[in-house]
């Protein structure tokens, strides 16, 4: 036993420090790898959370924008300013196709979608403020409210002396909210025009038919193509143009199906819509609504005709033209909505007749349809 013990001691003694030397580096490598993996895990979570938070914020902002636009379009003739202080550097995108308006912060979150409200806006808006304006669309009774979205960084240049020029200049500011101010100016010669400082995009509104002929004015050639657009009003139609390099590219024309009058919602829709696609899309939405509203008025008309009020005084005579119009106009509106723009001239005609009939009822002391 005595001879074995020293031998064993002698055998293991040199090994102990060796084992210790091997364990220490192994532990450090292990700790580094494990620590690195754990660190990566948390870094991954943080990065993912940050991305999803930005996405979520974008979606939330888009939803809030949707609520605001919905409220603004519900109330008639409203002028609202929305502060976008935190998003002044972001671009808001608006587009409408196949009857669906999509809008929101460009590249952030899911854009808000709207299938009902006719919304007209520039394709891209970069500003710390949004200006929302709504006007009622009558055909001949109120159908819906058109919502126009713009910003103080969009400059509207009016060319000509049309009655609409004075109307737009007057309406560009709100009497209730001093912050509501659309940047608008009238010029005689578009070639001599230069945009005001700080403008991000320019919209030329031409009533002469002469302004959008040659090249894009030199002062506007520094802008990106999407930032410069034009609309020309001639012979009851709106022709849309977009800057393409130094030239104007035509987007096509749309007939304005409207009964006219002061603050014509359709006319202003053509001013604020970026292009023909957005204008036609908004009009299609409005006419789809008109289809349903007309059916409601047809039912109301029937109830009115069957009521004792329709038999008072000379009212039976005054009402005599109404039954036919209550059939013709909803039918014409339906055709217009389904075949836009083909069947719409008939609908405009029947809307005019219905308006005249309603005025007769009003003047005759009978209960009017609307």
């Amino acid at each position: 036993m005595n001879t074995v013990a020293p031998k064993r001691q002698g055998r293991f003694r040199p090994c102990r420090p060796k084992k210790g030397q091997m364990e220490m580096p192994f532990n450090w490598i292990y700790v580094l790898i494990a620590g690195g993996v754990i660190l990566l895990f948390f870094v991954g979570i943080v990065v993912k959370q940050k991305a999803s938070a930005a996405e979520q914020l974008g979606t939330e902002v888009n939803q809030i924008l949707s609520s605001i636009t919905s409220a603004a379009s519900s109330a008639e003739t409203t002028k609202v300013v929305i502060q976008l202080a935190g998003f002044a550097e972001e671009s808001l995108s608006f587009q409408c196709s196949d009857g669906v308006t999509k809008f929101g912060i460009l590249g952030k979150g899911k854009p808000a979608e709207d299938l009902v409200t006719p919304l007209f806006a520039p394709a891209l808006v970069q500003s710390g403020e949004l200006l929302l304006w709504s006007l009622p669309f009558h055909f001949p009774y109120k159908i819906t409210d058109f919502l126009y979205v713009t910003a103080p960084t969009v400059q509207y240049v009016l060319v000509g002396n049309d009655v609409h020029v004075q109307e737009f200049l007057k309406e560009a500011k709100s009497s209730e909210d001093a912050r509501f101010a659309i940047s608008v100016m009238r010029v005689d010669d578009i070639a001599a025009f230069s945009p005001s400082a700080g403008m991000k995009s320019v919209r030329i509104v031409d009533y002469t038919g002469q302004a959008i002929t040659g090249e894009v004015p030199s002062s506007l050639q520094v802008f990106d193509d999407v930032q410069v657009s034009a609309v020309v009003f001639q012979s009851g139609a709106a022709s849309f143009f977009q800057k393409k390099g130094a030239a104007w590219r035509s987007d096509g024309s749309s007939l304005l199906f409207t009964l006219g009058g002061e603050l014509d919602a359709v006319h202003f829709a053509a001013i604020f819509a970026q292009n023909k696609e957005m204008f036609d899309c908004g009009m299609t939405k409005a006419l789809q609504r008109a289809k349903h509203v007309s059916r409601v008025y047809a039912e109301k008309g029937k109830a009115l005709l069957a009521s004792p009020a329709a038999l008072e005084g000379t009212c039976p005579v005054t009402y005599s033209g109404l039954p036919e119009l209550l059939i013709v106009h909803p039918s014409a509106t339906l055709t217009c909505a389904e075949t836009y723009p083909l069947g719409c001239p008939d609908a405009v005609q029947s809307a005019g007749k219905l308006r005249a009939q309603n005025e007769l009822l009003f003047k005759g002391g009978c209960v009017p349809l609307y």
Binding site: S67, L115, H292, A298, E299, L304, A309
Partner: protein
């Protein structure tokens, strides 16, 4: 080795509790947000209905409902599924009831009724309105009850 396992065990136990706490917090904040959204939607839909040209009094009088148009609208929605689908885009899953309060307390109109099959919450909003009958030129008093499902 035993020490390392013990450290790892405690680490994972802490991580586990941390994750449970985090998910409970996220769950509660999502529920709160959903509740807030439902409330906002109820007010938004009620506003839309009050200003709806299909039922609003002539001359765009606010907070006034034309009873002839209301009955006509009720009929048009009930008669045509396409029309009902169209108004789903405006009101979604909701029930809109117009209740007369004076003079006839029994009169009510269910204008739109599209309940959600498995709803998690139901928010109600009330708006008082004038009810105008163009035939008699009488004004009555009532309210709009808006029930929104989510």
């Amino acid at each position: 080795m035993t020490e390392t396992i013990a450290v790892m065990f405690i680490f994972f136990v802490l991580l586990f509790f941390g994750m449970i706490f985090y998910y409970r917090y996220v769950d509660a904040s999502i529920e709160g947000k959903m509740d807030e959204n439902a409330q906002r939607r109820a007010i938004e839909i009620a506003t839309r209905f009050i200003f709806l040209p299909e039922v609003q009094c002539s001359g765009s009088k606010t907070y006034c409902i034309d009873l002839l148009k209301l009955e006509a609208f009720q009929k048009v929605i009930a008669d045509d599924q396409h029309v009902d689908d169209y108004y789903y885009n405006l009101f979604a899953f909701a029930k809109i009831t117009v209740q007369e309060v004076y003079p006839n307390t029994q009169q009510s109109w269910v204008v739109y009724d599209k309940p959600k099959q498995k709803f998690t919450s139901q928010k109600s909003t009330y708006f008082s309105v004038a009810l105008h009958d163009p035939r008699t030129q009488e004004y009555r008093f009532g309210y709009v009850k808006m029930e929104v499902y989510s």
